[in-house]
């Protein structure tokens, strides 16, 4: 079912072409208006900046990890390119003692770019492993600092290794005439970057990375391994940056350590966030807007301001319009957007998605057929025993156990603090038990990670709702579906659209999850979990915050969803009516241990349950 050609490939391709046309066209138009070398160079630089910013967008936009290091990768690529592409005669003048025999290397620029990309990508893999080990996730501070360290390391090395880089003052130069004499490679690279960036965002990896960006924990609980997707995003992103950086060095005709350092980092990040970091269209818009703004600031700083009689002769406003105004402009843009519009001008609006929506507006999508129920996988067994979990000195669980067969509904009940959620956290790999073991189908999975357990068919919902809030209803369900198609192949995988219909969300399919009301959010969470074709659905207080009527509806909904995908259900609640209404068997918990188990009638009749639970039912 993935990728869908019309949605995932055709429109992004058309969109990339249009964006390319708009940016390149704006450049050509500008050059026609302001002829001359300066205008030509401004546009060339803009096009190269666009390539680099698109590269950064692939990583920062899709993973939500702020990287200061991409310009460091640019430095790695830039120096690799320069050292390889500059002719041996020129190198003899500047870096005659280049190590590893590099002084004698004579490579064509094309081959040099390819090698530069490969070297930068190798560095990206190393850094990516580090980022993964540091537990990188959206907004992670330590990940950002690791990328910052890379920027400083490349800068320090390029300053202090003159044998290779020509050092801080001399740098590397291309002989005059060696600089880029046609813009064709830049156009080609720009178009390629646009297409790669858009296609990546639509790809399986891109979608999973975005899910993890929106909610890392929920993504892992749906079987996504964010670290793998972040690595893929990083390598693609660095490859694009490396191409851009090589072209930039080629075009500049020279390379100094300062070229790929703080100021360039600021410039590219401002371009990215002004347009909207979560969107390729936004990245392109940001490049155009900031290039124009910076050029204006530069000219105003140089010539003063002489229009409408204000600032005549540049004197009254002289205190603003002076040299270096453009640096202030960049810093203020960054600050202003962070304060008033942190998601940029476009947020995650994409030109091609808008086009597709407009073209499709008049073609109603038929409501999908109801799904046929799948025969439950009664052979699957989830078994946990002697589980013990301690938080500091407090034992949240001691000698707790649970046994569930495929296709049955097992209820877990107990007052607040009884250890119900902790048990679910153990079974979904979020909490490591200090003792005990649990297994799926007889295989021990006590130490398995959350996403591995999800892929084995244990899928949960969360007490406090964890949806991918910026994604639409459909995209939320599709995340699980993508995982199901690669990891739940033995099972009947439900069609996403049909599942959305079953959950009663068809009318809302293109709305963002954040726009849904509470009941629909709960239904979406259930549908998203069901889309994984799980063996067991773990529901953590699915009725919390619901009225009695809604709870009754929820019972029906849970039963129906479970039957539709053939999953067993383990449901936690402290609402006795809800649990007895839904469960085949019940475990009653109190103070971290099982106090009773049996059919709903047996458990309700149990004296300890009555004492522990009904006696203190005030919180139910």
């Amino acid at each position: 079912m993935f990728p869908k050609f019309d949605r995932d490939i055709a429109f992004p391709l058309i969109g990339s072409l249009i964006l390319f046309g708009l940016l390149a066209g704006a450049g050509v138009l500008y050059q026609a208006l302001f002829t001359g070398g300066a205008a030509e160079r401004l546009i060339t630089v803009m096009l190269i900046d666009a390539i680099i910013v698109l590269g950064i967008q692939v990583y920062v936009g899709n993973t939500g990890v702020l990287s200061f290091g991409h310009i460091g990768f640019g430095a790695i690529a830039g120096y690799t390119f320069a050292v390889l592409a500059i002719s041996p005669e020129e190198k003899a003048k500047r870096i005659p003692d280049a190590p590893f025999g590099l002084a004698d290397v004579d490579m064509s620029s094309t081959v040099a770019i390819i090698v530069a990309v490969m070297v930068a990508c190798a560095a990206a893999v190393i850094l990516g492993i580090g980022l993964a080990r540091s537990g990188a996730q959206s907004g992670a501070v330590s990940a950002t600092v690791i990328t910052l360290a890379l920027l400083f390391v490349t800068h320090e090395v390029s300053r202090n290794w003159p044998e290779l880089t020509g050092g801080e003052r001399v740098g590397l130069f291309f002989p005059i005439g060696g600089a880029l004499d046609t813009r064709a490679p830049i156009y080609l690279a720009l178009l390629g970057s646009l297409i790669v960036a858009r296609l990546y965002a639509q790809s399986r990896s891109g979608r999973l990375a975005v899910a993890a960006r929106e909610d890392n924990l929920a993504a892992r609980a749906m079987g996504v391994n964010p670290l793998v997707q972040q690595m893929i995003a990083l390598v693609i992103s660095v490859a694009i940056v490396a191409v851009g950086a090589s072209l930039s060095v080629y075009e500049d005709g020279s390379l100094l350590p300062e070229n790929f350092f703080f100021n360039f980092t600021l410039l590219t990040l401002v371009m990215l966030i002004v347009g909207g970091r979560n969107s390729v269209t936004g990245a392109v818009l940001g490049v155009a807007v900031m290039t124009a703004g910076r050029e204006l600031a530069r000219r105003l700083g140089q010539d003063g301001f002489e229009i409408f009689g204000i600032g005549l002769d540049g004197k009254p406003l002289d205190w603003i319009f002076r040299e270096n105004l453009q640096t202030v402009f960049l810093g203020l843009s960054m600050l202003g957007f962070m304060i008033w519009r942190p998601k940029g001008l476009l947020d995650d609006w994409e030109l091609d998605e808008w086009l597709r929506a407009r073209i499709r507006r008049n073609q109603p999508e038929p409501k999908p057929e109801p799904l046929l129920e799948v025969v439950a996988d009664t052979a699957s067994v989830l078994h946990a025993e002697n589980i013990e979990v301690a938080f500091g000195g407090f034992k949240a669980l001691s000698d707790a156990g649970l046994h569930a067969n495929g296709g049955e509904v097992v209820g877990i009940i107990g007052p607040n603090g009884a250890g119900k959620t902790t048990l679910v956290n153990v079974i979904t790999g979020l909490v490591q038990p200090s003792a005990g073991s649990f297994s799926i189908d007889g295989e021990d999975v006590t130490n398995a990670q959350t996403h591995e357990l999800a892929r084995r068919g244990i899928v949960r919902t969360f007490q406090n709702l964890r949806l991918f809030s910026a994604l639409t209803v459909r995209e939320n369900v599709e995340v699980s579906s993508l995982i199901a198609h690669s990891h739940r192949t033995g099972r009947t995988i439900p069609d996403t659209d049909a599942l959305i219909g079953e959950a009663g969300l068809w009318a809302h399919r293109d709305r963002r999850a954040s726009e849904l009301d509470y009941g629909n959010s709960r239904r979406l969470e259930l549908a998203r979990a069901a889309a994984l074709a799980p063996s067991f659905l773990l529901l953590d207080e699915p009725t919390s915050g619901m009225s009695d009527n809604e709870s009754l509806e929820m019972i029906e909904q849970v039963r129906h969803m479970a039957a539709t995908v053939g999953a067993g259900v383990i449901v936690i609640d402290h609402d006795l009516g809800f649990i007895t209404g839904i469960s085949d068997r019940i475990y009653a918990f109190d103070q971290g241990t099982v106090i009773a188990t049996g059919t709903p009638d047996e458990v309700q009749a149990n004296a300890r349950v009555q004492a522990a639970y009904l006696g203190s039912a005030a919180d139910a």
């Binding site: 702020l66 992670a140 040299e323 960049l330 600050l335 962070m338 964890r466």
Partner: protein, 295 residues
């Protein structure tokens, strides 16, 4: 042995300044969850103040309080203008806001002063040394270490024994709960910025005494040292920040004197690589602060 002892003393002197900077970073992180990339700008601002005062013929007895007042003032002003508007925003927004502040401040000096280095006279005793046995000890390092110890003791007293300290620690542990318990968020955050400015001011006095110069981008180095030291120690932990400062100072001095000649110019690069490795194997830093996420 003697060389190691010598390194240790040099490292403590250097580490003291880092510890003060890192503590300022950690205090802000505690109340706002903001990793302040603009922390070094407090030293840029006070550096230009010192330059102006020095040109007027002020002595260091007057320049010292001026630097501290400027740092506190700049810290409060930056909070008022920029950070107060992004309270509670996502980490991504907070990081880039402080990055933006860093650039705006340095660009202002670029615009209104100049890109070139501005120098001012340093107190004569900065380069003096005295000998203990075969050890060569800088007067400067001795004073730095003494002042830092006093400052740290005073800060500990402030945090442990005063209502403000209690409110600040409560806010650092759990900001929302602290607010519900009646801690005034405005005054705690402003107090934290004032404290952070004070610590940066003291560190700034030493930093500027030693460098005797300032440039628009002079804030990068102190910022980096402070931020990295705070991260080494474990973000959110005040004790960790101080520890991180000393660790960073010692690591720099030891590496500089022990690395083979060929790599010695790359000491800073090696330090960054080591720090990156530390984050890779201990992303939470040396001292772990529990951040449980409820599910």
């Amino acid at each position: 042995m003697i060389e190691l002892l010598q390194n240790l003393i040099d490292g403590l002197g250097r580490g003291s300044i880092y510890a003060l900077l890192a503590l300022g970073v950690a205090v802000i992180f505690g109340v706002m969850h903001l990793l302040n990339f603009a922390h070094g700008e407090l030293i840029t601002v006070s550096g230009y103040a010192a330059y102006a005062a020095s040109n007027q013929g002020w002595s260091w007895y007057l320049i010292t309080p001026l630097i501290i007042i400027c740092a506190i003032g700049a810290s409060l002003l930056i909070e008022r203008i920029a950070f107060s508007r992004v309270r509670g925003a996502s980490d991504f927004t907070l990081l880039l806001t402080s990055f933006g502040v860093h650039f705006v401040v340095s660009a202002i000096f670029l615009l209104y002063v100049s890109a070139s280095v501005k120098t001012f006279s340093r107190p004569g005793w900065v380069t003096d040394t005295f000998s203990v046995g075969s050890l060569n000890i800088e007067v400067f390092d001795t004073i730095v270490i003494i002042v830092t110890v006093i400052t740290l003791l005073a800060t500990t007293w402030l945090l442990q024994r005063t209502m403000f300290g209690l409110a600040l620690r409560a806010a650092a542990a759990d900001f929302d709960t602290a607010r519900l318990m009646g801690v005034k968020s405005d005054s705690v955050i402003r107090g934290a910025f004032a404290l952070s400015g004070l610590l940066a001011g003291i560190a700034g006095v030493f930093w500027l005494m030693r460098s005797g110069s300032t440039t628009p981008s002079a804030g990068i180095d102190p910022m980096l040292s402070g931020v990295l030291a705070a991260l080494i120690g474990g973000l959110g932990s005040l004790r960790g920040a101080v520890l991180g400062g000393f660790v960073l100072g010692l690591a720099e001095v030891l590496l500089r004197s022990r690395l083979p000649d060929g790599i010695a110019p790359l000491t800073d690069g090696v330090v960054f690589v080591l720090i990156a490795l530390l984050f890779i194997f201990r992303p939470q830093g040396l001292i772990t602060v529990a951040h449980a996420e409820r599910v």
